[in-house]
Symmetry: C2
Subunit: 482 residues, 2 copies
């Protein structure tokens, strides 16, 4: 490992430091993987109250780690899971005028079920050799603990070589991203004065492929609604009542069916208000990407796509809104047969939003659509699991130019500007409440099994991500912002 340097070394030119930091990070990769595995062992599942203490434990772990990097770190209470906030004023002459950076990430993870499909336990990280080299397999490997650790490792490099980052840095790590980020906005309002910055760096997205970095400039929004349809006041014998009463499962199936027409367009009233068609320039750029439908779908065992008529897979996932049922249950779900008509049935429904679609209007229209379709004797109960709009990142931003340079330095090729079907509610909230644009620089791959069994992060992606963040911090120090 490169030894720590004396304070005098902080006077070295930023460019020289930057390459020494990168060399340090390379030498420290083994320990970086150990640290990543340590945080992956904590099952910080935010949607399930049973894991509340583990979520807290993950926050404590990260705050302690940030303290060792010279940050003043705090685990801040919220109405939900805590948010870790840590500050460093930056070292060196440039820090006084350089842009102030806010790193955002999340330390919570999705539930790990179905458990029986994992090849190793989801919270016992396994280092496995795959076709692209060694990878770490665990829930949260890439979403988002691995990506959070990539910028923490970059900060560790700067701390070891220069005594701290070359720009002022605030790190904010939330614990509810996978549960709709309910506490984030109230927290941003309350902690606004401590969260000053010029640009936010978010590492929760993907690359084009393992050799081609990408910066994401489009994110879909999300409305997540749980709907329970109630019918008879109790479970009924299907022989004694079948055929004569509304069956909530069948009512729910009718409702779910009604969400799409034969062309797989969504039928909820006003749903497409605010949806924009691609500009010819964007369409041309996307067509030049060489996206392979056969690869995208073949990876998941499908011979062809299925979705809105006349749209490509890229359009369907990057620029078109969706309505998907993420979970359904009702009646008897155990083994074998039970001749019952259940008293209720539940669907977990999420819409991905694009352009100017209004999450609150979509949510209201969805509820009205469901209620209108209920037969007499049935009623619907709703629970919201989040609502946030779509995001577009301004492509003319000087930060984007610097980020492109940093990524090109590490990968030897320019990053692509891409969209993503996923949603990061924080990006909208940070823009709206803190007034900051975000740079979405991530190192995930399409086959990382995000939200699925056997989630993984390629170690090559993890280490290159670390180097990119280290390089970007150096590039940002060259910008005279204030």
């Amino acid at each position: 490992m490169t030894p720590s340097l004396s304070p005098l070394d902080t006077c070295a030119s930023t460019a020289t430091l930057q390459s020494r930091v990168i060399a340090h990070c390379e030498a420290d990769e083994g320990k970086a993987v150990e640290r990543l595995c340590a945080i992956l062992r904590i099952p910080s599942i935010s949607t399930d109250p049973a894991y509340e203490r583990d979520v807290r434990r993950a926050a404590d772990w990260l705050a302690a780690d940030l303290t060792t990097l010279g940050f003043t770190a705090e685990v801040c209470k919220t109405i939900g899971h805590p948010i870790v906030v840590a500050h460093h004023p930056g070292v060196g002459a440039a820090a006084k005028h350089a842009p102030r950076v806010l790193f955002y990430g999340h330390y919570d993870v999705q539930p790990a079920d179905p458990l029986d499909l994992w090849t190793s336990p989801p919270f016992e990280p396994a280092i496995v050799n795959g076709p692209k080299g060694p990878r770490v397999v665990a829930r949260g490997a890439v979403d988002d603990k691995g990506q959070v650790m990539s910028f923490l490792e970059a900060l560790r490099g700067w701390h070891a070589i220069a005594g701290g980052p070359p720009v002022p840095v605030t790190v904010m790590l939330e614990g509810e991203e996978e549960a709709g980020s309910k506490s984030l906005e109230p927290f941003l309002h309350a902690a606004k004065d401590r969260l000053v910055g010029d640009v936010c760096i978010v590492s929760d997205t993907g690359m084009w492929d393992i050799d081609t970095p990408a910066i994401t400039t489009r994110l879909r929004g999300l409305v997540y609604l749980e709907c329970t349809i109630h019918g008879p006041s109790r479970d009924l014998h299907s022989g004694m009542y079948g055929g004569a009463v509304p069956n909530p499962i069948q009512v729910l199936a009718d409702v779910v069916h009604s969400f799409h027409d034969a062309d797989r367009r969504i039928t909820v009233a006003g749903f497409y208000e605010g949806v924009e068609e691609l500009s010819p320039q964007t369409r041309a750029q996307w067509e030049s990407l060489g996206f392979s439908d056969a690869e995208f779908l073949g990876d998941i065992g499908l011979p062809c796509g299925f979705g809105e008529k006349g749209r490509s897979s890229l359009e369907r996932t990057w620029s078109r809104p969706t309505l998907e049922v993420n979970g359904i249950f009702g009646g008897y779900t155990g083994k074998g047969a039970k001749t019952v008509i259940g008293a209720f049935a539940t669907a977990k429904i999420s819409c991905r939003l694009v352009g100017q679609q209004d999450p609150d209007r979509i949510s209201a229209a969805l509820k009205a659509h469901i209620i209108e379709r209920l037969p007499a004797g049935c009623r619907a109960e709703f629970e919201s699991h989040g609502a946030n709009p779509a995001i577009s990142v301004r492509e003319s931003s000087p930060y984007l130019t610097l980020a492109s340079k940093a990524l090109e330095d590490v990968y030897g090729r320019k990053p692509l500007l891409i969209g993503t079907g996923g949603s990061i509610p924080a990006v909208g909230s940070i823009k709206q409440i803190l007034g900051m644009d975000s740079l979405l620089i991530g190192f995930g791959l399409d086959d990382d099994c995000v939200h699925s069994p056997n989630e993984k992060f390629e170690l090559r992606c993890f280490h290159n991500g670390t180097k990119c963040h280290a390089a970007l911090l150096g590039e940002l120090a060259s910008l005279k912002q204030r």
Copy 2:
């Protein structure tokens, strides 16, 4: 309690004995309830392999009890759960020429979930005072352990007073009725020689109301099919793939929706083949029953019925076929949100059959209907949980006349001849393999919460049921069959 009598007493006239047996049963009601509670404490859930030992324990308990009644009893192995078979040659002069009776019942029960809706644990029977007097609350209280115990208590009365029943009796109790009776037919073929009889008495149906006995002359058949639709080869992130791939939950919802047209007629090809319209006589009889839709539906919190257009609730449940989804599950079914597209979704589908509908043809048509509707990339997997035709009991049978008389003796009013929406696969198998007609005499009420939480059996129904069976045995001894 009436003391046991000496063998000489078996020479008393059957009519005298019959009233002494009934008096004995009345005096023994307290202990009869204790015995019922003992068998209700055994969680003999046949559909769930976890309860296999409990199912066996219930069979052993019943065989032991039958032995104390002078029967030679055996717990017979099958390909599934065991079947209890017990014989008694009958006592008294009439037994040589009287009809031989086969009692059929089942000692297995439905699963008890959802457990949190029970007011007392399902396998800790509670005696509770209700508006109709004391009742026993437990899974299996009325379906079918309580009804089985009603004829066992009648046999106990005859044993105590006369040393045994006045006619030859075979008791056959199966342990898989709630799981599709898969072992019954192979067993009936194998044990045909030991299951001789002239009439089968089945006690697994209901009364008209607590004061009005009924004999069921129509039973719907049942086809139960579990269908799993598979799509992508693994669970997917709904942001990265949503809108571009077939979502098995939505495909399943489309399929379930397609089962019925706008008039709630079933659209599966050929489904109505063999369905007969009611004769004017039957229609007139049913109209004279004074069935109250308001009561039937009001009891379960519904303002009105829902089903095939132009049909009454009685027609919908007694004489029309149905297709109901008894359970559905797919994707994320835990608390909170998960933005996933599940790799599969499952529905448990059952059809009630009437008239001459062919279960095998219905099952095949249902599968074809589903497969035809799958988009490319999806496939369906099926598991059968039983298939049996509908049953009509011949109303001119001399046994029906005797049963009517026995019920009238106990209740002071004639029983009604009714239909039921439920299915008892055994009745068809017993007719087909053993050549025996069945008398369906049951003591359940519509509000007994069969297959639901808080299943109960009114003790008045239990005790009157015992007396009816005791009286019927006496009546049958008057018939010179052989």
